[in-house]
Amino acid sequence: MSAHADTHAHDDHGHHHKETFMTKYIFSMDHKMIAKQYLITGTIMGVIGILMSMMFRMQIAWPEEPNVLFEALLGKWAPEGVMDADIYLALVTIHGTIMVFFVLTAGLSGTFSNLLIPLQIGARDMASGFLNMVSYWLFFLSSIIMVISLFVEAGPAAAGWTIYPPLSALPMAQGGSGMGMTLWLVAMAIFIASSLLGSLNYVVTVLNLRTKGMTMTRLPLTIWAFFITAVIGIVSFPVLLSAALLLIMDRSFGTSFFLSDIFIQGEVLHYHGGSPVLFEHLFWFLGHPEVYIVILPAMGLVSEIMASNSRKPIFGYRAMIASILAIAFLSTIVWGHHMFVSGMNPFLGSVFTFTTLLIAIPSAVKAFNWITTIWKGNLQMNPAMLFSIGFVSTFITGGLTGIILGDSALDINVHDTYFVVAHFHLVMGISALYGMFAGIYHWYPKMFGRMLNKNLGYIHFWITAVCAYGVFFPMHFIGMAGLPRRYYTNSNFPLFDDLADVNVIITVFALVGGVVQIIYLYNFFISIFYGKKATQNPWKSTTLEWTTPVEHIHGNWPGEIPHVYRWAYDYSKPGHDVDFVPQNVPLKEGEEELQH
């Protein structure tokens, strides 16, 4: 279908194809529509994920107490309103899976890569509109299967989002490891296929379809981030796919890749010679890069939004690109920091400690560059800007504790405790979520031609920000007190009785934080129809997407695609009357590009 994009490139865009409802809204090949489809599917999955976290938080705060909500939502899994121990683990597992993959990978990358890559590089559409459509529908299918798995008789997958075998491989070890796990694996295999198609498309598009003058060093940082994210995805997702396939073989065809010497429920199983540690290696070879797949696009969005709303160039454009590249490279050689106490050779632990602490350096560079970007700016406090500042804040708070977890000696005592839960939620969960919100508030006018209500946006941000710290900051302390994660209740350990009140506080913040997302949902869905009409360039940004008409058209630009003459960050450039110079404005006579 690349012919499709090509024809557009040759100026026949004036007359549109005849579009039916089906081709326009359902089987659309237009990148802007596909972006919206990703966003809305991701949003629905996000609501499910958050509801789950609210339920299991209530269980931790008020263990084994009857709860009308459980009774209503969990049915037979909560006899008389008391949550079952197995379903607790299932909720945690599916929450993690949904949040990491469906919301913050597909929902985030899928939405913004699709929306922004063609618009910001000056292309009529993705390299292959057809593959793009297939990629979305595979994602949709995988979401449906994941949701269906919640209704399986013996329960959904419950072995943690990391699905370590043998627990995930043996139905006799756990109810959820039967049909539930099968569906989980099938859903993830389809998800990976979807993600690979998407990533290939993004890479090809960025490399081939840039408009005239759009050199790699004039690309907005968003595009750099999406591009490198796609490359990381292409490198690491296939490894998870093979891990999943080998696990399916072990489960259904009697191979022994990951299993050996198992005695369970009175019988010895035939497995011989496999190793669960091998699975851990394969899983984390994707699993760690995955956190960068989640965070890099958010970083790109935040960089762009911060520059635009500070009315200042992003500080250290080249250093930002260099650090994205460094992070991408290092992210593939640090996976072992999840396995310090897995039984792997301690020498490997030393190596992974070294590489892990190395990756802190480019991350620190980025944080300092963002702070410098707002220094002496003229900050426009739009909701998108608030979420971007919030992003930097949680990224720092969460990132700093990585110094502890990446240090193998220290990890011995906090591994798999709530300290880890606190760390990864702040640095990747909340940060990426903020990045996503920032992107939505900023590009909503581009997506829907209308503005989101800013006051609701402010309220959404401030309450969310307080709750996010309220939930995850105290978690560090119960983690340092030795409280393991994935515990259905702590009441069997009098040792942890003095943590009960912290857990109640955390849960109250979580409930408030979860419920206020309703404000956002309301704003989002109502504004599609009743929001204030957007102007063409509401935030006065320099990038090309704001040169397209508000009304969406196939092919993006009614006339010729604009040419690019400068980088994306000419904000408040001396010698210009306005405080922004769009990328398609030629250099004035004698003007230097002034690009470092």
């Binding site: 627990l167 190793s275 406090m381 700093l400 404000i519 408040s572």
Partner: protein, 354 residues
């Protein structure tokens, strides 16, 4: 109770939201209903940024004051414990410092440089010197931490056979622990789950023909003599488990099909730890909480909770199924004499079979 609380929280949120909408509404000039931030918005949010900075500091201080003594930061009970605690303390201080400074800069700049019409931002795109500074400073700090950390790690994980550690097997299964001592010869008999014979009570799959196995001792409560190095050999019969002994700063996964190991030297007996003033206070606090809870339970006609007395614990820290949350074994650290007396009471493997 829970439902009521949830409802109260909901109502509270609704009221708060309504009030905030009002505040934002009032703060806006009515004529300007555009959805782009105005100078007023910039100002309000700039002040809120400072408020939020205060919030971060407050929650940090409150957490440290209220819960800072909960962590097992002091009072480790193993020889290598203090080195981990020390490194942890240094790391926490560095983190605390960096966190305080960077959050200040971020929020203060957000406040100070709030947008105003007509103001122009500084065109400041690059500065190699600055970039060099904030590349090199983290490099130095991290290099220090890496060197210290790796030293500690190598010392902990390296097993020094010359100090003749006592070998103990930790055997995990859904959902309980078993320990096995090597006996007189301090050597564990060979084992494999394929040799498990429930009818003969050979539950760990020990090779009955192995001479080293005959004097092995299998117990459900782990006893350790103080001051004597122990080398744990971990095994699991079904799924992954993790042997976590937080007071000893020790953890290692138990992997089916493989033997993993971790060694340490306990330095404080259970009895001494119970006398430790910090521990006395912690236990008193826990018992206060338990008494309160008991009252509520008794009022409902249920049994009161037992009084808590401190014990070291081995707990499972790798998700292993339904009862993962209750997979524990008591650890008793005692003097060599007490230990010798205790172990003499235990049955040897050869005598424990049916």
């Amino acid at each position: 109770m829970t439902a009521l609380l949830t409802i109260i929280v909901l109502v509270f949120i609704l009221v708060a939201i309504w009030q905030m909408v009002k505040i934002f509404d009032l703060a806006q000039a009515k004529a300007d209903c555009d959805q782009v931030a105005t100078d007023k918005d910039n100002k309000i949010n700039a002040y809120l940024m400072m408020g939020f900075l205060a919030f971060i500091y407050i929650i940090t201080i409150v957490s440290i004051v209220k819960w800072g003594d909960l962590p097992l930061l002091s009072n480790s009970a193993s020889a290598h414990g203090p080195t981990i605690d020390n490194l942890m303390a240094i790391s926490l201080v560095i983190i605390f410092f960096v966190q305080t400074v960077t959050q200040f800069l971020l929020h203060y700049f957000a406040f100070k440089y709030k947008g105003e019409k007509g103001k122009k931002a500084l065109f400041f795109a690059d500065n190699n010197k600055l970039e060099a500074i904030w590349t090199i400073i983290p490099v130095i700090v991290l290099a220090g931490l890496i060197i210290y950390g790796l030293n500690t790690w190598v010392n902990i994980m390296g097993v020094d056979e010359s100090d003749d550690p006592m070998v103990v097997e930790l055997y995990a299964q859904q959902f309980n622990w078993t320990a096995r001592y090597g006996g007189q010869d301090n050597t564990l008999g060979k084992s494999n789950v394929r040799l498990i014979d429930i009818d003969r009570a050979n539950v760990l799959g020990i090779d009955e023909a192995d001479p080293n196995a005959q004097d092995d001792i299998i117990v459900k409560e782990l006893h350790l003599p103080v001051g004597k190095p122990v080398l744990f050999k971990m095994r699991s019969q079904d799924v992954l488990h993790s042997a976590y002994m937080p007071h000893f700063r020790a953890q290692m996964n138990c992997v089916p099909g493989m033997i993993t190991q971790f060694g340490f030297t306990p330095t404080v007996t259970s009895e001494e730890m119970r006398q430790n003033p910090d521990m006395v206070e912690k236990v008193a606090n826990i018992n206060r909480i338990r008494v309160e809870k008991s009252e509520a339970l008794v009022a409902k006609g249920e049994d009161a909770l037992d009084r808590y007395e401190f014990d070291y614990l081995l707990i499972c820290n790798k998700i292993c199924g339904k009862s993962h949350y209750n997979m524990q074994m008591k650890i008793v650290v005692e003097t060599q004499e007490e230990f010798d007396a205790w172990i003499k009471e235990q049955k040897e493997f050869k005598n424990s079979l049916n």
